[in-house]
Symmetry: C2
Subunit: 485 residues, 2 copies
């Protein structure tokens, strides 16, 4: 009995402490649990029953088995930087924190892959291999602290996913603890395109509802030979967004193609990493090109030609790596920067066909006017992944609700033009009902049935990702049961 | 009643004829059905009950519903070029042929996507958009006749998948008729990274066991600005395969990096498209580089430098597009070319980590010596996707069996070095038992359970993809049933 310093009489707390190695590996008192009642998406707050800190896969499996045998809801948590509530314990879950499973297990440069534990921080991987000329491509703005396990759960994106793809395009293998405690390995040894069903793709982006990832084989890339970054300033948003559409139509794939509008610029310039954007411009594009050194200048020239056709006012090229890094810090801390110009903000995440960018930005502007709330736009323009930031003041009665409604309306606009309701932040708690904007009842049912296969008793991260089952789904189930019998 | 010219009293034949529009849209007499008893993988032969030719999604759905209501097994078939038996009717299926659903529905250059019906031939897509400077990347060797629907079922690869990825990396949306006749749409309007589970990835490569794809949205790419193709000849296989490994390790990603060994060269030079490879060399690499024109020469020079380090004997650069096309014809008709030097051949398809190439080729050579059968190697070396071609004579008693065994041993070698048992040809009938080389019982069970969700009565393409359920799976199911009850 290792649980000797536990100040609880709850037998589950005592038994779980035993499994993970004692009092130093479990939190169960309310003051400790308060740090775990939310994630980066802070509107909902729910306390877990306890938080355990397993040190390896076997301990995770043992905790899961214990939970399954004792009907205790549970879920996994990485750094807690998620933006849709995926790690929030809606049902008094046992939180299985992955922060102690943070090893870089191996790097195989010859076959371009690395194996990490889920608690390993995203940016640390690039930092560990950059001296040898390699890096890990998916770069969410939270990469300095978010974990690769969390990235897998949310299929995280990032600024450079325009050229290099999102997390799922870089995952070669996973070790997963299933909701019954079984350990399975998929995509063994990092061979892509394994036979059988694509479980790798299915688990990646399943928002922690199908299993708990305990080991990850990722693809690593060779650093591009050359890189150039430019800022392009536009006097109106229409020209800027048309330039984005034109660049892609011209067949150029920049490594990154980011956009910020006037309100966003006001925020980032008032925060920690101002870069001196002109105060009176309506839109800035941050464009990065990489690849073979010989082709960089030509690509930049093509891009600038497109910008000139769209009346660009001014263009700046990064003079050195330091300047480039500062521009990226200015962009990547953009969400938080809204705190400098608004007491509260709500970030949304929708995707649209790139050609609809000018139209959608106009409609978001209308939503802003109608709601009486400012909306800033900082986003991955090149892949049509919008991030409207609704600015509000929670102290003003009714303003939180109006902000939520404005956010939801922005997603509706995305869905209406043939887009979808999340590009990289996930559905979680936040967008369960908005799933109906893009899926029929049948399509939602097909997905919830898959969840039932993996997670038949619904103890793992219940209540996330899908709207509450409707009568239609129930009827379908009954019909199916009759058909089988 | 449209089925007036039907020479059958079978009520199902009559009813199915009615659904698809009459006698011209159904085959049911033995002499007609003989053309449908196999696919590109010809060892197994089984007759269907009938073949129907629906003209649109609704007819597919109606046929499927009829089959489901009447307990008739069914499956979909494209051009029948598959190499693992996926379209072979093991259970007297109704074959739903997609050859009349062959429209190019739309092309959207601005957002880089096209929508096709499943019977649309792969190469026709590139041919339809090449004048505007675009192409469709996945290029299986059968691309002049195989259908995109079949490519989706098998997650087809091709020579250029080294740089551009396999079919699943180019599929943005699918319309699918589920095994109960429901029609669902996934990845609507071609937005990648949709919320919810990755059904797009799950269906792609599921070898026709989860649903029937009736509409496909694919990504199209802008033609690269420049392209160069070289042949590099080596006096020994070891040097050639080490050069492959070195090129990739050097951080170069050619558009294609193909290899043929001496036996393969003998075959392709004796067949329809000889190109004058030296007769005494042991290995040839076909290397293609594409991208921004300015970078091509530099990349080729880097590659040749690596080849020189590995004692390349001779290098040839394609002098014009005609020569380049002929080299590719020589390579892409390579499997069939074996017919010029052997009465029969069996093609295998395994994947290995690239760094194991020299070791695995040695071991395949041993298998050849021990079996007394020649084995030719023509393969996608750059992504470690091997195609050992076992040459044999079916008229010699016992030789077919030895060929099958030698093929299976080649796959075992791939699995043993950390690879897997198929890169692009699928599992189908051929490799059901070899699935055990790479999956545990639990891992196979997780997949068969997913099949049950989509296909609970197992009428759709039964008996494919997975080994027969073992006692272990049965026990697991019983335990689960108890746990739920």
């Amino acid at each position: 009995m290792k649980a000797k310093n536990i100040k609880s009489k709850d037998k589950h707390i005592l038994n779980l402490a035993d499994i993970v190695g004692g009092a130093s590996s479990i939190l169960y008192q309310k003051e400790d649990l308060l740090a775990y009642d939310c994630d980066g998406f802070t509107i909902h707050r729910h306390l877990p029953k306890a938080v355990v800190f397993p040190k390896d896969t076997q301990e995770v499996a043992d905790v899961v088995k214990y939970c399954a045998e004792n009907d205790l809801p549970f879920l996994a948590r990485g750094a807690g930087t998620g933006l849709s509530g995926g790690a929030i314990p809606l049902n008094g879950e046992i939180i299985i924190s992955m922060v102690r499973m943070k090893k870089l297990i191996s790097v195989d440069l010859e076959n371009r892959r690395a194996v990490v534990e889920p608690g390993f921080v995203n940016l640390k991987l690039t930092n560990s291999i950059s001296d040898k000329g390699y890096y890990y491509a998916p770069d969410p703005s939270s990469q300095y602290c978010c974990t690769i396990g969390g990235n897998v759960a949310e299929n995280a994106g990032g600024a450079h996913c325009l050229k290099y793809g999102v997390t799922t395009n870089h995952i070669l293998g996973l070790e997963v603890v299933m909701p019954n405690g079984e350990i399975i390995e998929i995509g063994k040894d990092g061979i892509p395109d394994a036979p059988g069903y694509d479980l790798l793709g299915l688990i990646t982006g399943s928002e922690g509802t199908l299993g708990i990832v305990t080991k990850i084989t990722v693809r690593i890339l060779k650093n591009p030979e050359g890189k150039q970054t430019v800022l392009a300033y536009f006097d109106n948003v229409e020209d800027g967004s048309q330039a984005v559409s034109d660049i892609i139509s011209a067949g150029i794939v920049p490594a990154a193609l980011e956009m910020m509008d006037k309100t966003a610029i006001e925020g980032v310039e008032a925060a920690a990493f101002p870069v001196g954007h002109p105060k009176d411009i309506e839109a800035v594009l941050l464009i990065e090109v990489d690849g073979i050194a010989a082709g960089i200048d030509e690509q930049i020239e093509q891009i600038l030609e497109v910008c000139r056709m769209r009346n660009v006012r001014e263009v700046r090229a990064a003079r050195n790596e330091e300047e480039r890094a500062r521009w990226w810090a200015n962009r990547k801390t953009g969400f938080g920067a809204m705190g400098a110009i608004s007491p509260d903000y709500l970030v949304q995440d929708g995707v649209i066909p790139r050609s609809k960018l000018p139209e959608v930005l106009r409609r978001i502007n209308q939503i802003s006017e109608e709601s009486g709330l400012r909306i800033a736009n900082i986003f991955h323009a090149g892949d049509g992944n919008l991030h409207p930031l609704v600015l509000f003041d929670a102290r003003i009665p009714g303003e939180s609700e109006r902000a939520l409604e404005a956010g939801s309306l922005c997603l509706k606009v995305c869905a209406d033009v043939g887009g979808t309701i999340t590009g990289e932040h996930g559905v979680g708690i936040e967008k369960r009902e908005e799933m109906r904007f893009v899926f029929t009842e049948d399509e939602i049912a097909a997905q919830t049935e898959i969840r039932e296969v993996f997670n038949p008793r619904n103890l793992l991260n219940a209540g996330k990702l899908f709207p509450s089952p409707s009568r239609c789904v129930e009827i379908k189930k009954e019909m199916k049961a009759q058909a089988i019998s």
